[in-house]
């Protein structure tokens, strides 16, 4: 009996401290659609868990959020949960301020779609929890296809087929370009993966720090060559700004181009644009370079990281909230809202049961593309802390091809520039 008297205040104080637990979640979605969805999930969670408060804060674009997190961590004030772009995975690892989620508590990752988990598994550990994931697909204007005498049921699936489609389309003289395509490194990376070519050495930077790029290869030259062919034949258009997918989407949405290639996450907006401009939108698999089997797409997007400095109960709450936000129902609703993949098999099954795919057949294309991806090193994606610089280098060099420079010369320069960037980054660790 006596013992209870000691235990009671202890228990009370524990409850009191639990009631005060606040977990900050820093994310990168400033737009109302996605930001509000996250806020609603935090509200749901807080309602279901009295005494715990998840505070979702928009901290700017990915780079700004990561930098803010690192600076906060150095002052001992890191948020417990942070959304980090896949591009910055290596940087997040090298910052040393995060802990692998698989070390916090046992998470059953079997429900997650394999390529997605494989993208975030580094050194055998699942470092972060997949959240918003997407891959590129071909968007096309069905009405324009029909008008040009093309079959909208058979969109092109290879580079050659795109060129042929464009030749037919061009001959129909409808007064617009065939494809809106911006110099975009993310697509370059996808096309390397589809050819089972690693972008970087040392197992795409996953076995050891990458020291050299593989861009100056047949696989790389094929991609530069594709841009060149499209451009030389006058099939291609874009705004001229690098990686300006907003611009190419606008061109495509305004029916100034027959096709565009962009993320599945853009589906919602493009459907709106199609409705507004009165055309039927078609979605096809990502067209790939000829002469190789589809090796699958690299998953793009971001994941949720837990700070190392978070005390155990807070880290657990952070992970618990992350798991709640990405649970079966929530991922299904996230997918419906944005076009990002529901990263769980159970969510896919739920959507199927709800008849989502039969009423929205466009969505299934992207899915199959991802489900058919068998994880290997090439489609696990490249890891390096110089990733963002590498992207700029690739995009600038695609632009050089578009302004008339030769493919092999450009591939060589790209390779040299990436290697220099890798060397420079790796010097940080000597």
């Amino acid at each position: 009996m006596k013992k209870y008297w000691i235990a009671l205040p202890l228990a009370l104080s524990f409850v009191a401290s639990a009631q005060n637990m606040t977990v900050e979640f820093w994310h990168t979605f400033g737009d109302a659609k996605r930001g509000d969805w996250i806020q609603a999930r935090a509200d749901d969670y807080n309602k279901a868990h009295p005494g715990m408060t998840v505070v979702a804060v928009y901290k700017g674009i990915s780079n700004e959020t990561l930098q803010a997190t690192v600076l906060a961590a150095r002052q001992g004030k890191a948020p417990a949960l942070v959304q980090v772009d896949g591009t910055s995975s290596q940087l997040a690892l090298d910052s040393g301020i995060f802990q692998p989620v698989s070390g916090i508590k046992d998470v059953d990752f079997r429900d997650y779609i394999k390529p997605v988990v494989s993208y975030y598994t580094i050194g055998g550990k699942v470092n972060s929890l997949p959240f918003n994931s997407s891959s590129p697909v071909l968007y096309f204007n069905k009405d324009l296809m029909t008008k040009a005498g093309l079959d909208p049921k058979k969109p092109p699936t290879t580079f050659d087929a795109i060129l042929k489609t464009c030749a037919t389309f061009d001959a129909a003289k409808l007064g617009m370009k065939c494809i809106a395509l911006t110099p975009f490194s993310w697509l370059f990376e996808q096309w390397m993966s589809e050819q089972n070519a690693q972008l970087l050495n040392n197992g795409n930077g996953r076995q050891a720090r990458a020291t050299a790029s593989n861009v100056d290869s047949d696989a790389g030259r094929k991609i530069f060559g594709f841009y060149k062919d499209l451009n030389d034949k006058g099939y291609l258009t874009n705004t001229g700004k690098l990686a300006d997918t907003v611009g190419t989407n606008a061109i495509f949405g305004n029916q100034k181009a027959l096709m565009t290639i962009n993320s599945t996450a853009g589906l919602g907006n493009l459907l709106d644009a199609a409705k507004q401009n009165g055309f039927k939108l078609g979605v096809g698999v990502l067209p790939i370079p000829d002469g190789s089997e589809r090796n699958g797409v690299v998953i793009g997007g971001a994941s949720l990281w837990v700070a190392k400095s978070a005390p155990k109960p807070e880290a657990e709450t952070a992970l618990d909230f992350a798991l709640f936000m990405t649970n079966t129902e929530n991922m299904a609703s996230w997918h419906k809202l944005t076009g990002y993949y529901p990263v769980r098999t159970s969510s896919v099954n739920l959507l199927r049961k709800q008849g989502w795919f039969s009423s929205n057949p466009l969505q299934i294309v992207a899915f199959n593309q991802l489900l058919k991806t068998k994880p290997n090193i090439a489609n696990a994606g490249a890891l390096t802390g110089a990733n963002i610089e590498m992207r700029t280098i690739i995009e600038q060099n695609i632009q050089k091809v578009l302004s008339g420079q030769g493919v092999s010369e450009v591939a060589k320069t790209t390779n040299e520039q990436i290697n220099a960037a890798l060397l420079e980054y790796n010097k940080n660790f000597k």
């Binding site: 780079n63 700004e64 990561l66 930098q67 690192v70 600076l71 150095r74 940087l91 997040a92 090298d94 910052s95 040393g96 370009k177 809106a180 258009t237 874009n238 705004t239 001229g240 700004k241 690098l242 990686a243 611009g247 606008a250 061109i251 305004n254 100034k256 181009a257 802390g385 110089a386 963002i388 610089e389 700029t392 600038q396 060099n397 632009q399 050089k400 578009l402 302004s403 960037a421 420079e424 980054y425 010097k427 940080n428 660790f429 000597k430």
Partner: protein, 326 residues
């Protein structure tokens, strides 16, 4: 910006006279401050703010410029002057410096010419003058991000308003954002346009302060409007021009960032680098996109040196040509 104060007073000689009259009194007034510490105490808030937000970061930057550092990794490796040598021997950086100089030159000259002309016209007593002035000033109220987005939509080569217009009228659709020289001209134009409001406000104020007698005297002497503008108005505006040249140089060097970031992202590639990659954009790319924090600090130091040189030049040679008297 407190370094150079434009003097709007039409009769500086009078002011000087008053100042001279007051001078002995000021010496007596010295006793107002009890002790040596009171002035410092009163200065303390300013010094604190300057110290925390200007001097301390500047010293940190100076220190960081001799380290290899990545703010995310959190490393600091002393490399001496390697960062400086790498930068100053890099053909990319050479091109960026050259581009920046051409850009700043064009923005300042075109910007001041246009704004002096527009301010002169807007100062005329015509119906609706107030409305014109408002419209002329308003671009300055837009944030660079919004201005950039606006221009981006206007100059979208396929669906932008400008090319729809040009296409319908002349059957041409210029590639504004990936033809290097067009893109450069576009950024210059956008920056000039963005700065017009600021310059016009100052010029309008200065024009309104030009004494009427002087203008009348010129008129009586038979000067044409053209002559009156060039021989009377322009010299009287020279203190203002002197002030604006300096603020415009600084604005073109530093504030061009927002517009460039949205409109061109430093592109399109020409030679070694993007043709609209100016010093401050290069610094942003290296510091905040690629996280080469040490190299970015080095660039900040070089830019500081550049600004210091400009200030010295301005004070040494600028003052000689400025006409303060009426």
């Amino acid at each position: 910006m407190s370094i150079v104060r434009p003097r709007l007073n039409p009769k500086p000689s009078q002011v000087d006279q008053e100042a001279r009259d007051q001078a002995p009194k000021a010496v007596q007034d010295h006793a107002t401050f009890q002790g040596r510490w009171l002035p410092w105490l009163l200065l303390l808030p300013t010094l604190l703010i300057l110290g925390v937000f200007s001097y301390y970061p500047a010293i940190k930057t100076l220190r960081l410029s001799v380290f290899r550092s990545n703010i995310i990794v959190g490393n600091e490796q002393f490399v001496g002057f390697e960062n400086f040598l790498t930068l100053l021997s890099s053909p990319i950086y050479h091109q960026v410096i050259l581009q920046t100089l051409v850009f700043v030159g064009l923005v300042v000259v075109l910007g001041l010419l246009f704004s002096i002309g527009l301010a002169w016209l807007a100062s005329k007593p015509i119906p609706g003058a107030k409305l014109y002035r408002l419209l002329l000033i308003y671009p300055y109220a837009l944030s660079p991000a919004i201005a950039g987005t606006l221009w981006l939509f206007l100059f979208n080569p396929e669906i932008g308003a400008v090319n729809s217009f040009l296409g319908a009228l002349f059957g041409i659709k210029p590639r504004w954002l990936d033809q290097p020289f067009l893109a450069f001209a576009l950024v210059v134009t956008a920056t000039v346009w963005k700065g017009l409001g600021y310059n016009i406000v100052f010029y309008l104020a200065a024009i309104q302060n030009i004494p009427l007698e002087v203008m009348e005297a010129a008129e009586i002497d038979g000067a044409t409007p053209w002559q009156r503008f060039w021989k009377v108005v322009l010299p009287l505006l020279s203190p203002m021009t002197f002030f604006l040249i300096f603020t415009n140089i600084v604005a073109a060097l530093f504030d061009s960032f927002g517009l460039v970031n949205i409109l061109t992202r430093g592109g399109p590639v020409y030679g070694e680098a993007g043709i609209t990659t100016f010093l401050v954009y290069q610094l942003y790319e290296d510091g905040f996109r690629n996280f080469k924090t040490g190299a970015a600090a080095t660039q900040a130091v070089l830019m500081l040196a550049l600004v210091v040189c400009l200030i010295v030049l301005q004070f040494r040679y600028g003052n000689r040509r400025v006409h303060y008297g009426a």
